[in-house]
């Protein structure tokens, strides 16, 4: 919990406690009874008050929204590989649920689960029905799922860089189109893996497996094979324009 010569939780854990994140029972019990930790948490509260005085919320929000607009337009090497496009952009490329229902390129899985990939761009939209799909400039991908309670979507590029796209519960019955369309930045191939499961799956574990498979395959995205994860998995490889 801490690297210092003490049994007290470390700084990040204290801050997580202050932010009301879930901690293990032992740590939580300690933090409810330790005056030293309480004093330290008190300093973090004071930091927050100073922060709010120094950076008012309106300035903060305006700056964040401006930064988000810039990041969307000009992804750099340090940005996530995948740009999550806003719904507002999405509407310009996808013609609606009915069309998506027609064009989806799906995988039907035992138990009624399914994963559908749809590609759309200036020239219209089409199902991503093939194992490997070439994307044209400006084309985006949207993913629809059904039949699972949780979805985890990751991607890995030719450099072995893994990105988490979605990790969320599925509350709706039937088909759920995951938020936003995806635009892949950079060049080369992008391997997208969807895992549908009845319970949440730790992203870190799947990420580690994906990296291990990538290494074992010699960096060949076509030879990654299935991972050892509960639930069903579907993948597509996209050739970026």
């Amino acid at each position: 919990m801490t690297t210092l010569a003490t049994k007290h939780p470390g700084e990040l854990t204290l801050r997580r406690f202050l932010a009301e994140e879930t901690l293990d029972a032992e740590t939580t019990a300690h933090l409810h009874s330790c005056s030293e930790c309480a004093a330290r948490i008190g300093k973090f509260k004071e930091e927050q008050r100073s922060f709010e005085a120094e950076v008012p919320f309106e300035r903060f929000a305006a700056g964040v929204e401006k930064s988000a607009r810039v990041l969307k337009k000009k992804p750099t090497g340090s940005l996530p590989v995948i740009l999550m496009a806003l719904a507002a952009c999405f509407v310009a490329f996808f013609a609606g649920r009915e069309v998506l229902e027609e064009v989806r390129g799906g995988n039907r899985i035992k138990g009624g689960a399914s994963v559908d990939f749809v590609i759309a761009g200036a020239s219209g939209q089409r199902p991503a029905a093939n194992e490997v799909e070439q994307l044209a400039t400006g084309e985006r991908v949207r993913i629809g799922v059904s039949g699972g309670k949780h979805v985890l979507a990751l991607s890995i590029d030719e450099g072995g860089e893994v990105s988490t796209i979605y990790a969320q519960p599925l509350s709706a019955e039937g088909q759920t189109w995951l938020p936003d369309s995806l635009e892949f930045t950079g060049r080369g191939r992008e391997y997208v893996l969807e895992v549908l499961s009845d319970a949440p799956i730790a992203t870190e574990g799947v990420t580690a497996q994906l990296r291990a498979h990538f290494k074992a395959s010699g960096g060949d995205l076509s030879k990654l094979g299935d991972l050892e994860v509960p639930g069903v998995q579907v993948h597509r490889t996209f050739l970026k324009p």
């Binding site: 919990m1 003490t6 990040l12 932010a19 300093k43 950076v55 903060f60 401006k66 013609a95 995951l178």
Partner: protein, 177 residues
């Protein structure tokens, strides 16, 4: 002909209310991290905005994080270290008042000195080592927790951190000096 502009269910739920909850819960922690690394209030505010913008753009996966704060601090650390590298700036040695306050917590002066020493030595090391150092000595994560945050196994992280510890006369938890 089908309608050309029809939104499908599942769009962003992001709004100012969500942003405000992030501001209240995590604002000072992220801003503090950016100031700690960049040593400049204006640069730190810009960097902080970039970090929260990434949360905004990755709302779905961000909401699913077991620890949103850990995610934010990881992104903030990586981003700020890259800002320094991009600017070709050296690592500054002075302590800001914020770090004095920081040092008054557990570990007191001793912890503050450890952070100071390792920070002064950071410029000698690669980006990933710098990240590991900050998560270990500033966030006070264990070796195992640092490995999880950086998506790496424990041994290489231990090796990296031992190099820093050796250079600064520190010890790693569970190891004798």
């Amino acid at each position: 002909m089908r309608p050309a502009l029809q939104v499908i269910d599942g769009g962003k739920t992001t709004g100012r209310a969500w942003l405000q909850s992030l501001y209240v819960k995590y604002g000072s922690a992220v801003y503090g991290r950016c100031r700690f690394i960049l040593r400049d209030g204006s640069l730190a505010e810009d960097a902080m905005q970039d970090v929260f913008a990434r949360a905004l753009l990755n709302e779905g996966s961000f909401r699913a994080e077991a620890s949103p704060l850990t995610w934010l601090m990881k992104i903030a650390t990586h981003h700020c270290l890259n800002v320094i590298r991009a600017a070709g700036a050296g690592w500054r040695d002075e302590y800001a008042a914020m770090q004095v306050v920081r040092g008054e917590g557990h570990g007191g002066t001793q912890a503050m000195e450890a952070r100071d020493l390792v920070r002064k030595s950071l410029r000698q090391f690669d980006l990933e080592t710098q990240q590991a150092v900050i998560h270990y000595w500033v966030d006070e994560l264990t070796l195992e927790e640092v490995a999880v945050v950086l998506d790496r196994s424990v041994p290489p992280n231990r090796k990296r951190l031992r190099a820093i510890a050796d250079a600064t006369g520190q010890t790693l938890a569970g190891e004798s000096s």
